[in-house]
Amino acid sequence: MIDIIINLALLSFLAISAIAIVRMKNLFAIIMLFGIFSFLSASVFMVMDAVDVAFTEAAVGAGISTVLMIATLALTKVQDEKRPGGHKPWLPLTVVIVTAAALVYGTLDIPAFGDANAPSQKHVAPQYLQRSIPETGIPNVVTSVLASYRGFDTLGEVFVVFTAGIAVLILIGGVAQPSKRKTSRKKKNA
């Protein structure tokens, strides 16, 4: 009962903030709403018992990407500019509606939420659950899969994320020359 109320409230907040993000022109307000949006989706993940996904969503969505967006906003204007020329919204709207209809049609075949007999629960999950503690000694099964069974995969992901982080830092000017930074600060103080 209360789960339904929480889910209804969180999902309608999600819809409201998503529509507001699309409609708004003030980029600062949009970034604030992005932060709220990812806190909301993290709460939804948590109510659905996907704690590790919620954790990642909060750290990346609400934490790092807010800071990155703010840093980008510091280098651009606060207001969205009006686009010159008329663009027709009908083609993108049709594509979006068709894609959404296909996705909704796809959800009809999905097993019910938390179904123990779903194919994804029957495939390799029981083996992981049975063998992870004797084989790896890690009490959390998700961590054992990420860090032990798929260790090389995680290492590759870390490389990708690290490279992307360096690229973003270069793009937004986070790696300024130290001498320039000092002079600019001195100028401001004087």
Partner: protein, 98 residues
């Protein structure tokens, strides 16, 4: 008891969301986002006790920290116009004028 608290927190979240949507000044929106994060922490804590999964409390703590860091970054931007990157918006404008 828990149900009443949850409903109250959800209503407060709705009010904070309304302030973030309407809020005329920048500070209204910052306060709304910060408050929304705090309410998320509270909601997770109440939900943890309600569904007797008290390990979710650690997640609530991490959310509080993330919320704090995000708000600090936003306030730095509002105060100075840049994030100590060495190239502020004013400097780029003066460079363009030269």
């Amino acid at each position: 008891m828990f149900i009443a608290i949850t409903v109250a927190i959800l209503i407060t979240m709705g009010l904070a969301l309304a302030r973030a949507l309407l809020g005329p000044t920048v500070y209204d929106r910052i306060a709304a986002a910060n408050m929304f994060g705090t309410k998320t922490v509270l909601l997770i804590a109440v939900f943890a006790f309600m569904s007797s999964r008290t390990d979710l409390l650690d997640i609530a703590l991490v959310y509080a920290l993330i919320n704090f860091i995000g708000v600090i970054a936003v306030l730095k931007l509002v105060e100075r116009g840049d994030l100590y990157s060495g190239i502020s918006a004013e400097q780029t404008k003066t460079k363009a004028k030269r």
